[in-house]
């Protein structure tokens, strides 16, 4: 992001103090606003008028939803004023209310920084995927979504000279790579503008061509000679293994490698690269699902407690000597609520499962009532135990 420098030399001595005065004044005004808005915050009222203003919690307004394939769509979002920008390949965490419940998911940004200031993500509706289905099928322009600043180190080196690249993408793992490629090779009405001489090989793995998001973009980049594209459609050609990959990309070892896709493929690649002593940059979207079983453990800050599947975490933790907040012990007073950062618990009253996945759950965790929740796997709860 371009920093605007305000050199004091440009101001007359009297003027230099002005911003400070203005800041002091605005802080005063804000202080008065806080006193009038109590018990709410001034932001609560300002959000009613402009949720994207500077100083607001980071949000975005959906500008356009464009279908990519039968079950994928690209969503263009105008981010709030405090958006810090991003580097191609990074992802953004998006919070949406699906059926009234706030859910967070991470999606790769599929464009480089754009002139119009919009950001875009491309989402594939996975079967049973509450959030992805909502984003692809129900989100409409004008809706407000919650955002976090772009993050992730799946990015190209700042100096591209002297590098040859390999990008292995599987399924929707193509999304961060397309963000990088679009930034490297901007497309105009005249076609691909190749303004950098780069040697990029993309190996794209997908069940079939129609299933592939961005396949036309990849193909036109290949036609324009910007990249070498190798496709592997597993539906007709079978799974890809390391031997096939080395056959398809003979100079594999010379290339700086990036891979994005499902865990199985990434694990295999990583193992091979580790053995070969070569670096590999990977990006994974979904963490393995939480194993739910009869009971489990609860990790508090400083102590881990065994918790059976048929008893409240509150009881198990107290027996283990953890000082727990508690109230009615029957699920009505919410005096025992603690944030679960990771793991799964079962509501002892109806068997309902509540799951917290790091990266998908909000940074503050999922609040759970410990008095009616039993562990259903390995849980991490943000609460000091010592």
């Amino acid at each position: 992001m371009a920093e605007i420098s305000t050199s004091p030399a440009l101001f007359a001595p009297g003027e230099a103090r002005r911003p400070a005065l203005r800041e002091r004044l605005s802080r005063k005004v804000w202080g008065v606003a806080e006193k009038i808005a109590t018990p709410l915050a001034p932001a609560d009222y300002l959000d009613m008028f402009n949720p994207l203003r500077p100083g607001a919690d980071l949000r975005g307004r959906v500008v356009k939803v464009t279908p990519e394939t039968a079950d994928a769509a690209t969503i263009e979002i105008k981010p709030g004023a405090d958006w810090n920008g991003h580097t191609p390949g990074q992802y953004v965490r998006v919070g949406v209310d699906v059926n009234g419940v706030r859910h967070w998911r991470a999606y790769s940004l599929t464009h480089g920084p754009r002139k119009d200031g919009l950001i875009s993500i491309t989402v594939k509706a996975v079967p049973d995927g509450k959030v992805s289905s909502h984003l692809v099928r129900r989100l409409s322009p004008g809706k407000i979504v919650h955002l976090e600043q772009a993050a992730g180190d799946f990015v190209l080196p700042s100096d591209l000279r002297g590098h040859k690249f390999l990008m292995v993408t599987a399924g929707s793992g193509v999304t961060p790579v397309i963000g990088m490629l679009r930034n490297l090779f901007p497309v105009t009405d005249e076609g691909v503008v190749e303004h950098q001489r780069l040697d990029v090989t993309v190996v794209h793995v997908a069940p079939s061509r129609p299933d592939s998001i961005f396949i036309r973009n990849l193909e036109s980049l290949a036609e324009a000679g910007a990249i070498r594209l190798v496709t592997r459609y597993t539906g007709s050609e079978g799974r890809i293994d390391i031997d096939t990959l080395t056959e398809l990309v003979p100079d594999l070892r010379e290339r700086k490698a990036y891979a994005c896709g499902p865990a199985g493929l990434l694990d295999n690649l990583q193992a091979w690269y580790d053995e070969a002593g070569l670096p590999l940059q990977t990006e994974q979207f979904r963490l393995a699902t939480v194993v739910t079983s009869e009971g489990g453990t609860v990790a508090f800050t400083g102590k881990t407690v065994d918790a059976p599947g048929d008893r409240p975490i509150l009881d198990a933790a107290e027996e283990a000597g953890v000082l727990m907040p508690s109230g009615c012990r029957m699920g009505i007073c919410f005096g025992c609520v603690l944030p679960m950062k990771e793991g799964a618990v079962r509501d002892l009253r109806n068997g309902e499962l509540t799951v917290a996945r790091p990266g998908e759950t909000g940074p503050e965790g999922v609040p759970i009532q410990t008095c009616i929740s039993a562990a259903a796997g390995e849980c991490v709860i943000d609460h000091p135990a010592s």
Partner: protein
């Protein structure tokens, strides 16, 4: 009353129910609860978002209008708007969010753990005394501070003392300053003062809560009585803005006090003795206690929203954590269960419930049987007796109280 139907010679309102009946009733209520949870979603979320938006617009708009409150129409509109905004904040929004009714949305801004309301009482203190104590120990004399707020005699079995005579006046004062009344009883000020008299210092924890409450009261008062009127001085509307804020807070106090009185105080609503609650009260037994210990207010949609849906006090007490917009929807099903199990679904229009609650406060301020056995003819002699009961020693008082009780029972017998 006793809650255990198999206790010897039990003749209470659930005498006709067996233990199995009670557990079956519990299961049927659980099913209603589950149905709501299974269908909770976008529609409900949209509801609370809308109520919050309306409340904030109303508050902002009313405060803006009051900046010109030197003009009488602006004063009236602004005061009415601000009163409604404060009531919405306390009832349909604050009370219900702090109950965790909307926690399922996982919205960090609309959550029981972070919400703060426009009231002298801190949300933290209120959640403890209201959610933990009142909702768990509903209507158990001595355990549930809401029942008479620790300053009133609300059950015949509580001992009458001469100071009981002041309770109608106490209740009236409490009504006028209700937000401070709540703050005081959230802090259990009465208990702390009693302990202090015995020379025990309040705990450090209590001192922290007291400090927080004072800070909150300061913030609240500064906003309503200093900051807002000061801004209004621009149009010379300072004094009228101050008056508007006083009226709005007073209106909110009277309204919330009245709604809450209707929930548990009307005549015919059961109270319970701690000794009668089984050690391991089952879910079914707990449900029955909630069912018999609450009363509804019948009325319009507007009344339901303005009362925070505490007009569905019965539904709220059975399912305190279900979204408030659902109470009206499940009310017919709950009512059908009352009929099926032959229990009294206590519901009446607001004026009737308020009058009934005040009648109880008045009746219990007098010795048991006094009101029932007093008529125009014997009023002077009854008054003399009452004065004797107040002035007399313990033995005289005990004898007179017994006489009142017997006379009361006799006159009820005659009426029947």
């Amino acid at each position: 009353m006793t809650i255990a139907p198999d206790a010897p010679a039990y003749t209470g309102p659930i005498a006709h129910l067996t233990r199995d009946d009670i557990e079956q009733l519990g299961r049927e209520l659980d099913a209603i609860r589950q149905e709501v949870i299974d269908t909770r979603g976008e529609r409900d979320a949209a509801y609370i978002h809308k109520v919050i938006k309306v409340q904030r617009s109303l508050e902002l708009g009313s405060r803006a209008v009051l900046l010109a409150s030197i003009f009488p129409p602006a004063f009236v509109v602004g005061t009415v708007g601000l009163s409604i905004a404060k009531i919405l904040d306390n009832m349909e929004i604050g009370h219900n969010i702090m109950h965790g009714q909307w926690d399922w949305m996982r919205d960090p801004k609309i959550h029981s753990t972070v919400w703060e309301w426009d009231n002298a009482s801190t949300s933290e203190g209120w959640k403890h005394s209201h959610n933990e104590l009142h909702h768990t120990y509903t209507n158990i004399v001595g355990k549930d501070n809401d029942l008479g707020w620790g300053i009133m005699r609300v059950d015949e079995e509580q001992r009458w003392t001469p100071s009981s005579l002041f309770q109608p006046a106490m209740n009236f004062i409490n009504m006028c300053i209700f937000e401070y009344g709540i703050a005081m009883y959230d802090l259990e000020l009465g208990r702390v003062i009693r302990q202090k008299k015995k020379g025990r210092r309040p705990s450090a924890e209590w001192q922290m809560s007291a400090k927080r409450t004072l800070a909150k009261i300061r913030r609240q008062a500064f906003k309503d009585y200093v900051a807002h009127p000061l801004v209004s001085m621009v149009t010379l509307s300072g004094p009228t803005t101050l008056l508007a804020n006083v009226i709005a807070n007073f209106t909110r106090n009277v309204w919330t006090h009245s709604v809450i009185m209707c929930g548990h105080f009307p005549e015919g609503v059961e109270t319970f003795e701690l000794k009668d609650i089984p050690e391991n009260e089952t879910r079914g037994e707990w449900y029955v206690r909630q069912m018999l210990g609450s009363a509804n207010i019948s009325g319009s949609k507007f009344l339901h929203v303005m009362s925070g849906n505490l007009s569905h006090q019965i539904e709220h007490h059975i399912f305190p954590d279900l979204p408030s917009n659902r109470y009206a929807e499940i009310a017919p099903k709950v009512r059908a269960l009352f009929e099926k199990y032959d229990l009294n679904y206590h519901s009446a229009p607001m004026p009737q419930q308020v009058a009934s609650a005040w009648h109880k406060v008045l009746r219990l301020s007098l010795p048991n049987g006094f009101l029932e056995s007093t008529n125009v003819r014997n009023a002077p002699s009854q008054a003399v007796k009452l004065v004797k009961a107040v002035r007399g020693d313990t033995r005289t008082r005990r004898r007179l109280l017994k006489e009142f009780e017997a006379a009361g029972a006799a006159s009820i017998g005659k009426a029947l």
